[in-house]
Point group: D2
Chain length 423, copies 4
Amino acid sequence: MAQEGTAAEAVLTGLAELREWQEGFYTNLHEHPELGNQEVNTAASVAEALEGFGYEVHDKIGTTGVVGILKNGDGPVVLMRADMDALPIAEATGLPYASTVRMNDANGENVPVMHACGHDVHVSCLLGAARLLAEKKDAWRGTYIALFQPAEELADGADVMLKGGLADLIPHPEVALAQHVLPLPAGHVGTRAGAFLSSGDSMRVTVWGRGSHGSMPQLSVDPVVLAATIVLRLQGIVAREIAPGEFAVVTVGRMVAGSKSNIISDHAVLELNIRTFSETTRTTIVNAVHRIVEGECATSGSPQPPTFELYDHYPVTENDSTTTATVAEAFSGYFGDLAFTIDRQSASEDFSEIPDALGVPYCYWGLGGADPDLYAKAEAAGTVATDIPANHSPKFAPVIEPTLQNGTAAAVVAAMAWLGRED
Amino acid sequence: MAQEGTAAEAVLTGLAELREWQEGFYTNLHEHPELGNQEVNTAASVAEALEGFGYEVHDKIGTTGVVGILKNGDGPVVLMRADMDALPIAEATGLPYASTVRMNDANGENVPVMHACGHDVHVSCLLGAARLLAEKKDAWRGTYIALFQPAEELADGADVMLKGGLADLIPHPEVALAQHVLPLPAGHVGTRAGAFLSSGDSMRVTVWGRGSHGSMPQLSVDPVVLAATIVLRLQGIVAREIAPGEFAVVTVGRMVAGSKSNIISDHAVLELNIRTFSETTRTTIVNAVHRIVEGECATSGSPQPPTFELYDHYPVTENDSTTTATVAEAFSGYFGDLAFTIDRQSASEDFSEIPDALGVPYCYWGLGGADPDLYAKAEAAGTVATDIPANHSPKFAPVIEPTLQNGTAAAVVAAMAWLGRED
Amino acid sequence: MAQEGTAAEAVLTGLAELREWQEGFYTNLHEHPELGNQEVNTAASVAEALEGFGYEVHDKIGTTGVVGILKNGDGPVVLMRADMDALPIAEATGLPYASTVRMNDANGENVPVMHACGHDVHVSCLLGAARLLAEKKDAWRGTYIALFQPAEELADGADVMLKGGLADLIPHPEVALAQHVLPLPAGHVGTRAGAFLSSGDSMRVTVWGRGSHGSMPQLSVDPVVLAATIVLRLQGIVAREIAPGEFAVVTVGRMVAGSKSNIISDHAVLELNIRTFSETTRTTIVNAVHRIVEGECATSGSPQPPTFELYDHYPVTENDSTTTATVAEAFSGYFGDLAFTIDRQSASEDFSEIPDALGVPYCYWGLGGADPDLYAKAEAAGTVATDIPANHSPKFAPVIEPTLQNGTAAAVVAAMAWLGRED
Amino acid sequence: MAQEGTAAEAVLTGLAELREWQEGFYTNLHEHPELGNQEVNTAASVAEALEGFGYEVHDKIGTTGVVGILKNGDGPVVLMRADMDALPIAEATGLPYASTVRMNDANGENVPVMHACGHDVHVSCLLGAARLLAEKKDAWRGTYIALFQPAEELADGADVMLKGGLADLIPHPEVALAQHVLPLPAGHVGTRAGAFLSSGDSMRVTVWGRGSHGSMPQLSVDPVVLAATIVLRLQGIVAREIAPGEFAVVTVGRMVAGSKSNIISDHAVLELNIRTFSETTRTTIVNAVHRIVEGECATSGSPQPPTFELYDHYPVTENDSTTTATVAEAFSGYFGDLAFTIDRQSASEDFSEIPDALGVPYCYWGLGGADPDLYAKAEAAGTVATDIPANHSPKFAPVIEPTLQNGTAAAVVAAMAWLGRED
């Protein structure tokens, strides 16, 4: 067997040929996004493709989870995961393949749906890598597991697959891999040992006022004024209560009160998102949210206590050092200067729940998806490229290439650091 | 023919007997509320009842409008109006006949529905008066028109009936009457000459941020913080920009932003309600809303200008002096000390659009619907009864009696000031 | 003795001649303002002038109070009062006779001083009237008392004079009069029976944080953020908690926190001003301030409870009906259409404490002081003249004439309604 | 000559004996603080002490700067700096030696004064080290320069000494040293290579309203509401506009508006403090402050544009790597586990301006000053010791010992890493 670099390169010889099929798959997937645990069509087309490549396929794991297993003699077992679900966002990219899909979410509410987090990129790249490995089985040995997870955005897709019996369906992996497209210049691939992604928690806060006719505020306790003050007060947590330089995010992603302009409602709902890299900071924030909400309810003369509901908990994603060193070296060899040590990212993931449950070390990396020209222009102008829509923006739109080619190559190169190993 | 008081009393001899039927009608209507322009069942049961009393009935006027006409020889033509529609509010009264109805509103959104403004009282009382007048035709002469209007809460039900050809369906009235149940002690009936109800305007404000992942606020312009600041700033209009003592209300009845805790949305919507008794004040407020919203968008670095949409305009309801003097005298004669000169009310109505379009003077009055015991207790405790749910509260619950008996009597007494007139 | 009008006109024959002296007195006083209870030079020049006119003068009453008494045979005893004190405001009128004075206030703080409330107009007009009455003693009979009060702005000058023995120094008046220059077109004189000026209360609120270095907010409880939120929340009292149309003002006139940009202070001070025409409303506001401040301190995690200090209480100024009818009739006779029934004013006064203590009915009126041209221009442009600096503005600058001539005439005409009376 | 550790220990044999004198000096200095560039008595007692120890003394450098030079044969020249000035804070420690001093500040305002930043510790420790070195001249060789700097808190004391000719008064140092007492457990000494202290900038923002009487808000543009909203909006810079984890502080240390409760002032002043470790972040913040203030002024309808004044700029304090390695090694040798690598600190210093101007590498370190028992108790309770007053708190109170003994030892040990060097 040839040496590492060469082996990966051997697998990647089919990369350019893949392009037309892969881009077609990607734009079709982007145009037909599905919400978490409802990725029925996505999972079906993934399963169909894997079968076509010759994989042993298990589907409907948990809800819509899929794994494809390709056994190629003795050797390391490598698992790579892609997430499949989309978000309740109305797409505003103006792309020719933009989504106009609407679905009922878990609460039965009809919402617009969009691949605003790039999971369509992840699926397309992992499928591409799965195909290339299947086409060049003589360049490696071992077992490759391509895992397609539902409902990452609901923080429960990994758990759903584990509860659906994943451990019994696959051979025990030696290593687990995953990637995420990010607003970095396309072409770049970055990883880091240790903490990579923050923990994430969501919190639903309901505060109570007293309803009244819109023209009789004096008979009301106005929940809109109450909610608005809470929003402003919450800014003070990161600005004043957390030590400067300590990573902490408190976002009010959703705020809803009232049904009609001339009715003062009797309650308002705030949905918060909290990100930290430290349990102490997380506790400080959660306590501060309680103190602020309760204090503001007292200020308003709220007639009943607020309620707090924590949900969608994500753990810190913390890359294994040895595993990451191996991946990083393989990336340097293949991508040269475009491989780099990335900063910690403020996003969160449930990916780590699967390797953690299986007792497997993992490496997660970031894949550039933004038009490199935008960065070049900003640099030329001496500014920073802040107008690049980030993940979860209704305008999030990775450039198709070199993103897909690159993400496919990264998936292959990383896996081949094990599968192409000389023993 | 007997003298005024006596004639009305003659019509009212059947009042007590009416009670069982009327309360049944009322509780059934309360339990089955319908949104504006969709009052199909309400209108049908109203039309059926009127026909049963012997009225000439026209229905489906505009959308769901109904009029019943009872001709009783030569004499004055008196029109009295009741509004039929309910509100998108989830009832929280705990009453045995509480509504659990949900309907699709005009935007296709499925919403809870409740008679939170007492239109069920208005319908029940007007039907009761119509029945009594039909039963005692020898006590009066002239023509009585009972008009049941849709969609008062949408500010277009009066207009809908006018456009639906109302003027051609009824004889020209000499006077128009209407009443509204209010959080006053049940038993009381109050009217006033001149301005009675404020003008009302709704305004939908959409402000724009830049969407991002909830963990990457630095790439966003956060529309939740923007909307919250606008809400607090809007309080300054009444508190700082309008002369103390000048009637002015600016309510943000609805505030909506975002779909999910970990997504920063790209816009927020505020729905305001504005009430004044003066065009100058109205203009000052509308201008201030524009200035504040535009200023806050600039503060946030909003990527696109806000939009403003004025809707649901209600005129000032201004009682004719002569007509009101006649009604007030009749009320004093029948109700004694319970008849009073009411203060201007901050609510708004589209009732006046019909008499204004027909060139008819009108009188509007307030009907007490709150449990008198609550006031008595508050007074005994030396406090003010502020815990009485106002119109549009999810806990708005008039006491059935004496509200219905009284509202029926008021309708008869007022009409009889014309119909029972000695010529 | 001639009839009323003629008698007042007889006294006023010297009005034009007075002008040069009076304007000199006024501009000199404007340029040399003195703070409350420190009006030493003002009082001395007033006393000197009164003596020169032949009045019996008592000075240093309480602190710096002065009365001049002119007995002119049997007849009514009329008291008219002017207030003498200025405000801690840095004048920004740009007038040639603008003040550059600084004084130590009652707390020993060195502050700029300005006649920003027009008390210099009141003093000048009352002196002018006193002189004219002294010059034409044959046109009237009775006793005229010109009273010059200190410290109206501190809400204790009237009280200071009463405690200083005023009642024993003067004959018992039949009526008490006072006027105030307002941002109305100069030339106009307006009064009204009943409530004229609101009650006023000041409230000093001290809230506590925890001090820290400006770079270590996480160790602090930031009193600046706390105070800022309280200020915004207080706007909700008038905007949301008081019935629309009910007169109520809550102004935070002073807000002070911290000594240096890079130190987080441990407290902040807010000084509020509260105006109402109703004790119930006043109580509602005071309770709401307590609730809001305490609630916000809890929200901040304030380490010690806030403190509240009520001070500078002013009663409602409520004109006696009969007395006011007499004055209004005299004004109409002399000023014609320029005499009008003025609206309630939101300012407050301690004037009424003196007649109330003496058991004397009173009439208070408003004197136009603003350039009539500004109103004419605004009217021509179809706008409202909002750019006229109000009392207490650093740009408050009554036009000298016709303000002084008119204010002098008003003082004479009103007094002569009694002093010129035919018995 | 003995080896390093031993030589330093030789100098430190007199440490215990020093204690009584040093503590007396310290408590006296704490009780008699002086503001920046006015440290007349402090400087005099420092100069007197240095002369008593046998130093060549230069005083009144710039304003009140003092240096003492002790030449002890050929060898390295080591400069150590202490800052002498206190802060305009009213002491609230309750210490027996608490300050009750008041002084006029640079603006002529009379303010309370307190050593709330521990400069009294710095002065006392440097004097102690100077004395020990003078007493044990046989344990080292070279030249020791003890530099006492004015006005660190005004960001201009280092500059003042440089402009006052410092470079010509002292031999060129090989290294510069300085220490700062911090809310760490006393006994600990921490340093770090590279960025140690943030940059600091102050910004004075004046916003304009329109003045009015407190009872006539409708004629005003209320600068208090404007300033309050700006304060809340500024919290959004760190909370929303700076990447999570990036060091950034925006503190409003001072907020002043109005003179009196019943006057609406025409302006408000905010004094901000900005801290960063990055020029890009600093620029982002300064731009955001401009955008926010200008936006809020537009929202208020401010009649004139706000003004911005940047002042008190401090550079980043960035320790030289080689120098710091030398100091850290010496600390480890002497203090053992109590010597540690400290985190970046959010405070700022002008110390670096002197070595930067002289072209000299420097090392700055942190000295624990807080009662170690408080930390022990917090740890035992499983909490964090957040109730320890930080620098600039009115309750900032280092424990006298072991702070002074330790700070003196640190000064000696660090200097002896050069002065005690075997060549």
